[in-house]
Symmetry: D3
Subunit: 283 residues, 6 copies
């Protein structure tokens, strides 16, 4: 489709009220899934983030990295084990998690943002003692439950003009490292920063009335409707912890949590800069 300059200008102008709305606000993006593995989608996310930063929105990028962790564990001949959907994390595994997330995935994202003329700084929960946690349950090994977020280092990073890119490992008071669920960490960080929005990128359309029919997308859910929707079985399976994170963030003061479809290019931009948005909003 050839688009002439006047149309281009009109489209830019259409974004004006959204830029005004988010100017100076913090938006925490949990980055993961296809959007992180597909090269084209990845590039789209990077340019979205650089653009949003330039128009005065403070983006905090929290990432996961399951596939890279699995891959590395395989290379050292270790099998990934999962208990109720949570990775069983022994001493050796938590070392690999830290190394892969904070050393590889994180720093590669930082580098990619610089290739897109952004400025970024890679952090993990150990920097500035950012994520303080304790063991969730002995049966999962070194999986952590967040006790406290020290957000100073994130705010300093934003104030210095860098995009904070965050790996979700944390430590307890003795310095033991724990693996932490990235959705949960993103929700807690968003709350601690007083973020405007929490955006969770997933590989689904959003919450569906009928989980087999993408046309039945539920665009907006109130926090108070969640128990009913769970009872109805509409919120079910993998959707439960996602929605719970969203609810947790809203309860702690974040204005809106949104589950968006990371398989669509520029879904973050579409969510923030169009009236329709892109997925299911919890508020």
């Amino acid at each position: 489709m050839i688009i002439n300059n006047e149309t281009r200008a009109n489209i830019l102008i259409d974004s004006l009220p959204y830029i005004q709305k988010y100017n100076g606000k913090i938006v925490v993006v949990k980055y993961g899934g296809n959007a992180m593995t597909d090269e084209k989608l990845k590039q789209a996310v990077m340019s979205d983030i650089v653009l949003l930063t330039l128009v005065g929105i403070k983006i905090v990028l929290v990432h996961g990295g399951g596939p890279e962790i699995n891959d590395m564990l395989k290379r050292i001949g270790k099998k990934s084990e999962f208990i109720n959907g949570l990775r069983y994390t022994d001493e050796e595994t938590v070392d690999v998690v830290q190394m892969v997330l904070a050393g590889k995935v994180n720093k590669d994202l930082v580098s990619l943002l610089h290739r897109n003329k952004g400025k970024a700084l890679g952090l993990c929960g150990l920097d500035g003692n950012m994520i303080v946690c304790e063991q969730l349950d002995k049966s999962f090994g070194f999986v952590g439950e967040i006790k406290k977020i020290n957000s100073d280092i994130i705010n300093n990073t934003l104030d210095n003009g860098y995009i904070p890119v965050i790996s979700t490992v944390g430590t307890d008071e003795k310095g033991q490292v724990y693996n932490i669920n990235a959705d949960t960490a993103a929700a807690r960080i968003a709350a601690e920063l007083g973020a405007e929005n929490l955006i969770l990128m997933t590989d689904i359309k959003g919450l569906l009335e009928n989980k087999d029919d993408e046309t039945t997308l539920i665009k907006s859910v109130g926090v108070s409707e969640v128990p009913y929707l769970k009872k109805q079985g509409i919120i079910q399976g993998g959707m439960i912890p996602k929605i719970d994170c969203c609810v947790e963030a809203v309860r702690r003061g974040v204005k809106k949590s949104i589950i968006i479809d990371g398989r669509i290019p520029h879904s973050i931009l579409i969510e923030l800069f169009t009236s329709e948005g892109a997925g299911t909003m919890i508020s």
Copy 2:
């Protein structure tokens, strides 16, 4: 034409390198002609300016107001006289010019920017002793030639987060008010502020190789080519003072001066945010 969200996002992303280029820079826009009388064009200019401000570009708006002055002079029963294209300005006329420009045109623009959620402040050359001038030539009456621009008040306005909207009347040391050509004033202000660009909005396509054929637009002219183009008669008539302003600004340190076609909606945005630009650039 229906444009889907992905296309919208791509168009926003296309603007990224331009936003990066102009971020934190000053652009002086001389606003006049049809873009100021046609309501639709006017609205487009206002939203362009608010958008540019939001993405970190410091816009300074310098305006004329010939038609409104003529209209007011007619209402008080005074005929507009012109000598070599310059308005003959007696005591009574210079009063009307000041009143119409600084009191009506200027403040209406300020109000319109606020209606578009911008923040603006209306200045004239008397505020902060901004434009110091003396009489250009007795035969024109109170038409002023600029001696000095005190740009502190403009910089303060930008630093406080307001768009400066400027009427081009000035005073000499005794406080006598003079009418000043808005193109010239815009060029001098741009130079004094160390602006990145000076944009002159006109009612023509730009500089044309053949003045009767809009397809012969000359997109770019070097300062050194100007004398030759004058000799060739390509720069002629009303184009001569416009091009001279552009050259003056570039000579005093402005990176680029551009003559754009104000009859096209969003021509400022098109000029700054597309690779083709919109008119004739002097650099």
Copy 3:
């Protein structure tokens, strides 16, 4: 009278406690009447204001401009109409009011302050959306009632070291311009700025016990005495709205409101810098 240097020095020293008292404080002066039309009085006011600014008092100058408006209306062949002392303001009139106040009277004062080595900036209620109003009553046309004062732009102006000179036109949310009574606007601005004093310059001696005898000046009135004085007929006629403005300002937190006699040269200085003051104080 020849005054020797020692006497001069003593007089300067006499002003010391007053300078200490007002140092760093805001004083809003409503400027109008003879003090604005008589050239000698006008010059005295300008030098008073520049002096007060230099000794660390933050003067905000709010002005009217009835005679200039009447004159301009006459020149365009329009008759001034008054209903209950308020100018009936149709569309054409409000345009003239804005033009004359914000473009002529205001900027001429700014220029005059600069001739006296002050630094000034001319504002009207449209700048920075300062005066937000709505229609007072349909029968008066576009006469506005103040809903909100956005004082940021005034504080910025003071912080940048300029004397704010303010024309009292305002807008409603749709951008319709209204004429606003300058006394009322001065009172509201003084309250919003947390001013120390509101000074209303008038063409009378002050509040008189016997309105025909200037020796019966009442020097000080408590806010609570006002209803009684109205009932007694001592506050009557044109004095009623003046006193009401003073009371309104005091009620909203201004320390003192003073009605002074603008026909006396340097009455502002005399009010602020002598023990007797110059007129009637409401506190």
Copy 4:
């Protein structure tokens, strides 16, 4: 003489150009002689200084204290000895000098300025290592010659809004204390601070053409004329070191040095705020 309010106001207005001239500038006053012993004169100096501070002039007060030192020496049964007009200063004497100047004279002035609603801080050359000196000549004992002025502590005092009151004792690198001539110290401090004026208060009218005739006051002397005036015997006796201090200050960058008659009340104010000034100016 009864002075009406209008005359008072006119006199205040007359000071306007002088306030504008000195606003934000540093003026170093060497305080001594009758102005320091006569209670009425003393009070006049204090109120002058507080007033000047309030109108934005940064006063630095350097004081002597010969009579108080003599008095104290007498009380401990020690005779004051002078060699070529300089006090012979043995170990015991320098102790008394330090004690009397920095402990008594200095702090009493600080207290007096506070009684006049000023804010002051008493310093001596030992504070912040302000005056670094070495022995002038063994024959005078502990009389110091200035090697370096560390003016940071004075600038900090001014920036914090206090009037610095300075006693002129200094130390060498080993911490030995020296008595330092107050005129000389004032001149060097003025130079180091980049002061606008150095004012030396004395008990004479100024430099006289005929030393026995006060009507022959020389109002202004150029630095280059000084050698000739010395040769002529017009600059002679105690006037020589005073004029030399003035010349030294001007040579090191102070705009004007002035010798004023401290016997006249408010002579500082008269010097700074009238066109005639009060004494002899060296520039």
Copy 5:
């Protein structure tokens, strides 16, 4: 004893938790007794203070000077009189007190700190109107009771990077000077500054269970135990006012007051940087 470098390093490392504890905190030291007269002890105190300042602790030094005052009174042939342990202070005595404390003792300490590469500023209660007092009781003459501490000047001094050295004379509203007990003044200053610690240097071991046996040192006393200890006669004699000062400071918000033995070199450092401390702590 020869100490190798590794041992030295270990000792430095041992101080780490103490430096962390006091970093950025204010500690007020009342300096007096042997530590002020013995040259070796004096030098140890000076280097302690400079070191503590360098590691980020804000030391405020409050000093007495009894012996120097007695000595000076003797030299002018005046006998020191004491009533209930308080010096009877007539007009002449208070003059000497001010002179000796603020002019000699104070400035000599300032100079000594500079010799140790510290930066210091000598203040007394007259500077910045710091200590406001009134007469304690006519029978003692000009002995003052503190009414108010204006701590701005102390905070400014700390912020500018200087060690404040304070003589404890004060004034009443009329400017009459009073002699003030240094322990009391230190306690009030500590309270006003929100100090972490108040340290009183004395010539005793601390509070002793048996006053004749230094091995019976009481290391820590709670504020609530004080009345009982007084009743038991354990707190008795000269210890009573010292302990009262400590209690007063703690009651007004100081974390801990400590009475230390100034006869031991580096007792301040030992108190702050070892686990045992050095004396009796009241908290």
Copy 6:
């Protein structure tokens, strides 16, 4: 050895001139060898760094991690290859290097500093585009040669009060990651930051006259003596690149480079805080 408190205090006081010397200065420490693998030495280094930070020295910690890299390569079944002492670095190896250094070694050090009550932030050359490099030589694979150090992010980290801990991987303009020699990177970073000292921790005593006799330590070498010492064979083998780094840093403006023996506990503290120092100094 039992050390009494007075001796402790004296040792603290001995450090005073060194603290004064380095206060506010930057010291870059290249951390490696035994000091990084031996737990006791490691703990000593961490406490040294936290102490130095607390006394106002700005430590920048640059680390290597050869053993951990070798270990990881072994776990994924890859053999470490070295060409002329440089690791041959293929695509897979550079990935492991980045992951182990930036993800594991770096963040573990950050965590350990926090356990010691320090505040730290882990950076690598990708953060803020800090280390820009290109391929050194194809034969080594992805081993980089530094082209540019962007030190903004390090300065921001210091200004925010965190100890920067730096892994030495870098990128070229296309984002290809390279392994960079840590000694070289430390030297370049020290130069770019204008550091006072560069300290290289090694597993040798320093430069020895006779390499087999530790008593022949050369304490100080001038940059100009280096060529001669190389010719003499005194600088030889692994010492050559170390000394070259030191020379490079000094040439680029670092005051002193020091090779210290990391096998001695607290060698950094001994180097900075004793007169003997600890190794060989190049200046």
